[in-house]
Symmetry: C7
Subunit: 78 residues, 7 copies
Amino acid sequence: MADEIQRPLDTLNEAKGKSVLVELKGGIQFMGTLRAFDIHINIVLDNAQENRGGEVIRKLGRVFIRGDTIIMISPSEQ
Amino acid sequence: MADEIQRPLDTLNEAKGKSVLVELKGGIQFMGTLRAFDIHINIVLDNAQENRGGEVIRKLGRVFIRGDTIIMISPSEQ
Amino acid sequence: MADEIQRPLDTLNEAKGKSVLVELKGGIQFMGTLRAFDIHINIVLDNAQENRGGEVIRKLGRVFIRGDTIIMISPSEQ
Amino acid sequence: MADEIQRPLDTLNEAKGKSVLVELKGGIQFMGTLRAFDIHINIVLDNAQENRGGEVIRKLGRVFIRGDTIIMISPSEQ
Amino acid sequence: MADEIQRPLDTLNEAKGKSVLVELKGGIQFMGTLRAFDIHINIVLDNAQENRGGEVIRKLGRVFIRGDTIIMISPSEQ
Amino acid sequence: MADEIQRPLDTLNEAKGKSVLVELKGGIQFMGTLRAFDIHINIVLDNAQENRGGEVIRKLGRVFIRGDTIIMISPSEQ
Amino acid sequence: MADEIQRPLDTLNEAKGKSVLVELKGGIQFMGTLRAFDIHINIVLDNAQENRGGEVIRKLGRVFIRGDTIIMISPSEQ
């Protein structure tokens, strides 16, 4: 976690293929494997599941999430 | 699902002609066959139906959905 | 409905001169004949009527609707 | 009303100098004579009056309305 | 009021140095002398006062108002 | 206050180094010394304090405020 | 704190590697070490923790926060 990132998108690049927590506007939360992202922060997750209040409410496989609904993306710690 | 996608829009490209779940702001949910999309994530679904709370509330045939209302698009698993 | 559309705006182009259902943010619904649209999805309807809860609440003749309030446009089936 | 318009802004152009109904986000409604508009759908009305619930609540003379608050503009029928 | 304006911003230009009513999203209302504006409809008022429900609630001197919060600007009649 | 400003940003330029009142969407209010701004109206305040309902609720030192949350900036009168 | 900054982003540049308080729309608050930012004010924090009502509710390690949800960033005083 002390590695040198220069730009915010470097963090997303490092997180590719790893598990991430994604929070959307309106309290929606997804977990899954980050597969792709672009400069609009549109992202694709694999093995995605939606959580609310700490519980899994849906398993969705692959999801495309539109960037402008995203508040925060956090790579899982290892 | 392990195929290599490079950019988020690749996921939408692969989903063309297949059934997708689309969630919009405000809790609106559509299912249908993804027919077309563009870089604004405007999409067209065929055989679209609107669901709320797990029930089909309307069958609409073809629908054009404006990208900026979309939260998430998930291809159905096969 | 099986015709080949390539881009979402092709769907709007095919719907010109035909009856469409238009849903706006905030639960507003219009029906009318699609007369024109542009890349911002600004549209013009003729013989427009506004519906709420399945009832016609206003007849408006021609209306210009600003694209960024539009959620969905569905051509009527024939 | 059967005249040929090609683009949505043609409708606004034809409505110049005529009475229009303008609906804004949040249920605000203006009536007045359309004097000018631009590509952002910023508009100017003369002899503007604000209506709520079918009643005139204010007479304002000339008003500049910022485009991004506008939902719909409808020329009065003659 | 019958003078010929071509574009919406002409109305703001004519109102420079005169008293205007400015309404913002969320029911906020300012009155003051229009001193400057730009294409984003950012404006500067002098001798500005904020009104709510028809009463002066604050006197502020000079204010810079960000354009994207503005709904409507109306020059006072003379 | 009668000095000639040509563009809205001139007002912010004149206010540099002086005390300003900044109002944000959602009723948040900051006071502080305007240190810097850019064309997006991102600003930096020094000796910033947050007020709600006329009371100081926090002292924050230096703050960067994102422009698109800003409603209004008013230089303190001297 | 009296050092000369010219543009708002200079403040974020000076805060790199230091502890910052970040407030988001909807009352969400993060603290962490500012690792990176870009012109959209997308940021990356390390050792991030989310606070609500003055209490730590989550520890998240590294987080990417999308710029358009950010209201304010304040470097901790030393």
